[in-house]
Symmetry: C2
Subunit: 233 residues, 2 copies
DNA sequence: ACCTGAACACCGTTCAAGT
DNA sequence: ACCTGAACACCGTTCAAGT
């Protein structure tokens, strides 16, 4: 994988820069793609044919590098028709893309989920787009952020869950220990394969649809509450 | 914090064992409780007044230690009335306890969420209890595991989210950049504080209620589908 | 059996030194 | 400005040596 395996570069500034933020990020993503691959600056430097200390010229440290990756991923998720569709229609492909984009880099997803995001510009823009659509559609003001956070939590949790070897709930020979679970597991597998979908994908789509439907229904409950309060006043 | 700060133990087997799996796990949890505290075997050994290599006598490695912690946490979550209540009533306090139990150890949650769980006995028992209640209540067989996974994903994602400094979506001075988001954020805060709840807790409860409601509603859709299919046959 | 102590192959980060 | 190279304070894990 290494670009130039054994070409030794002398000390001192190279005639033309070997590195760049873009090249580092690009290589970092390929490193994060492999499952067991330890995501270390040392391994990244190796892949780039460079010394680890060279990376600190472009990123203050490992955390800043990961923040840079996160920002790029958020941008990649992109828009999904929030202008032309209702928020609860547009949010489904958005969530799907979110999960797929973050789930595609198993080596980094835990760090991405853990790292403080404080005021990342890409995330703010992303959320603003969704919040604007929800306000336009008359979603209760105080429920907008909770709804977005709920969907994001579900997506992050699902992306983490999809990292499990095959399936978290896989009673291999515990059919005797957990008969109900085993039966349910088989039914779910059969259903997914009948629909020509992977079990994890089918599970994600089902959960996402349920969550969004529940969030929409919560609107109506709140509206009824508001009406009752208004009538009383 | 260290039990015996500078008492040097000579090499060789101590007269009575200094360590035990229980004591190691207990200390490991206190280490995982602190936010920034790096959760390392070295730090754990330091806290126990022992050399790092001594730990390998009780746990094969760091992963096995974390697996042990995970199992203990799962047990702690415990039962929540699945026998006496309907599954969608009992699942709410269960999910609440789940999030609180795992969220109480910020130093370890990412590792807990990431580590493969393959066939952990405590988790199997936990899931079996829920699956049994759902079957009893007539939840569609093929939707049981997806529903459980959806809730678990939401809980894990919420626990991770609650690690963020205060709130992920906190546009400090980006009121101009993200006016809709800022307004929604304020409304959510005001609503939460009016109900004497933290914003994160209010958000979690709202999302959980929506998700469970959506999962229950999905039952009816599936049932209608089944009826239609049955009528056709 | 249960611990120490030394050793090994790693980390991330800092900083002087080279061009 | 941009990289190497050496140094520092760490890791997790293995294993001989002690009692």
């Amino acid at each position: 994988m290494t670009t130039e395996p054994d070409s030794k570069r002398p000390a001192g500034r190279p005639r033309t820069a070997v590195l760049s933020r873009e090249r580092i990020l690009e290589t970092a993503f390929t490193l994060a793609d492999v499952r067991g691959g330890d995501f270390t600056l040392a391994a990244l430097a190796r892949e780039l044919g460079v010394r680890p200390s060279a990376l600190h010229h472009y990123f203050a440290g490992k955390n800043e590098l990961i923040a840079g990756m996160r920002g790029q991923l958020t941008t990649r998720v992109g828009d999904h028709g929030f202008d032309s569709l209702s928020w609860h229609e547009a949010i489904v492909p958005w969530a799907r893309a979110y999960r797929q984009t973050f789930g595609a880099h198993p080596g980094i997803i835990a760090a991405l989920a853990t790292l403080p995001v404080d005021d990342e510009i890409e995330s703010i823009i992303d959320y603003e787009r969704i919040a604007a659509a929800m306000r336009r559609d008359g979603y209760p003001e105080h429920r907008i952020v909770p709804a977005i956070v709920a969907i994001e939590s579900f997506v992050i949790g699902s992306a983490l869950d999809s990292l499990a070897p095959e399936d978290n709930l896989r009673p291999v020979d515990n059919a005797r220990l957990a008969p109900h679970l085993t039966a349910a597991e088989h039914a779910a597998r059969a259903y997914a394969s009948a629909r020509a979908r992977s079990a994890v994908d089918e599970t994600f789509e089902f959960g996402l649809a349920a969550l969004v439907a529940g969030l929409v229904a919560a609107t109506e409950i709140d509206a009824a509450e508001a009406d009752a309060t208004g009538a009383r006043a």
